[in-house]
Amino acid sequence: MKRRSFLAGIGATTAAATIGMPSILRAQAPITLNGAVQFNDDHAFNRALIRFEELVKKYYGKPVNFTLHKNSSLGLEKQYFEYMSQGKAVDYGIVSPAHMSTFAKAAPFIDAPFVFKGIEHMNKVVEANILAPIADEVAAKAEVVLIGYSGGGIRNIFATSRSRISPISRASRFACRARRSGRRPLRQSA
């Protein structure tokens, strides 16, 4: 989705038009934007959001405040998305597409196994704006804009034992061993 067409979609009649009419109170009071993230400042997500804040200040050039609520203090990503959709408590954050499926069925697809071959492939897909139809649907139905794409981490399976994970016949033995010991084999995350 092109940014200009999105901004036109939410109210601008020309490139120079003000989008919507800010309330008098909002226009006069210092603007504070609230972000939320599940991790601490060592995590790449936090650092990406802090970079976001720095860039906004740089490009806006006027006073704007940011409060980033860290370490899951405002809950988990699913909740951040719900808050953003409702327009309360959280203005920005990083959210897994898995939490957008209520609004856009195709959203979890872009985060599915084996979709991206690696980081270079992901970069090409992002630069080519291939994900625009999904972003458009999320913006229209959930009223949340996907303004950038962070991530890029490669996912692996962490396990308690040295049992090899195999998609061929040994996989079922791995699962069976886990079941006999009363354990379920595999689980996950955000």
Binding site: V56, H121, I147, S150, A159, I165, S189, A190
Partner: protein, 157 residues
């Protein structure tokens, strides 16, 4: 697995028995023996200390996470236009920065954890076989949700 059904379907197709558990409950679930494995990126394995309860990291490389930076439209509409423009421009750049950051630090994080004896990387030679089993599931899913066009464009990018 993540809550999105495609994850459970894909891992069931490769012969595993996936279970959905909230991210912040995985550590305890492994510690209490409810499950014996999970999956995540290096940054998550480090931040959530999953290596403490599940130190064998099988290098399946089964996904590359994409994590949109999101902004509330309701909030955006209340902001001055020049701030809206700044947010949109900054969002893209911050996303690009985040991808470069996380992907460049992964190996360093795993090296550090392994050298400290906290984690052991286990080679995984069957990724292609795993993908072969997952491919039909992905193709069917793409068709079900009307994402065939995007899937094709992603595949040829």
């Amino acid at each position: 697995m993540q809550g999105a059904p495609i994850w459970s379907k894909t891992f069931a197709a490769v012969g595993m028995s996936p279970t959905v558990i909230a991210y912040n409950e995985i550590y305890n679930a492994i510690q209490n023996g409810v499950i014996s494995a999970g999956e995540n990126e290096a940054a998550g394995v480090e931040a959530m200390k999953f290596y403490e309860v599940a130190p064998h990291l099988n290098l399946t490389q089964h996904a590359v996470s994409i994590r949109p930076i999101c902004f509330s439209v309701k909030t955006l509409k209340t902001l001055p236009k020049d701030l809206q423009d700044a947010i949109m421009k900054a969002g893209k750049e911050a996303g690009d920065y985040g991808r470069q950051l996380e992907s460049s630090e992964e190996v360093i994080k795993l090296d550090t954890l392994e050298k400290a004896g906290k984690l052991k990387r286990v080679p995984f030679e069957e990724r292609d076989a795993m993908k072969k089993l997952a491919d039909p599931v992905m193709a069917t899913y793409a068709k079900e949700i009307g994402a065939e066009g995007i899937f094709e464009k992603i595949n040829v990018a």
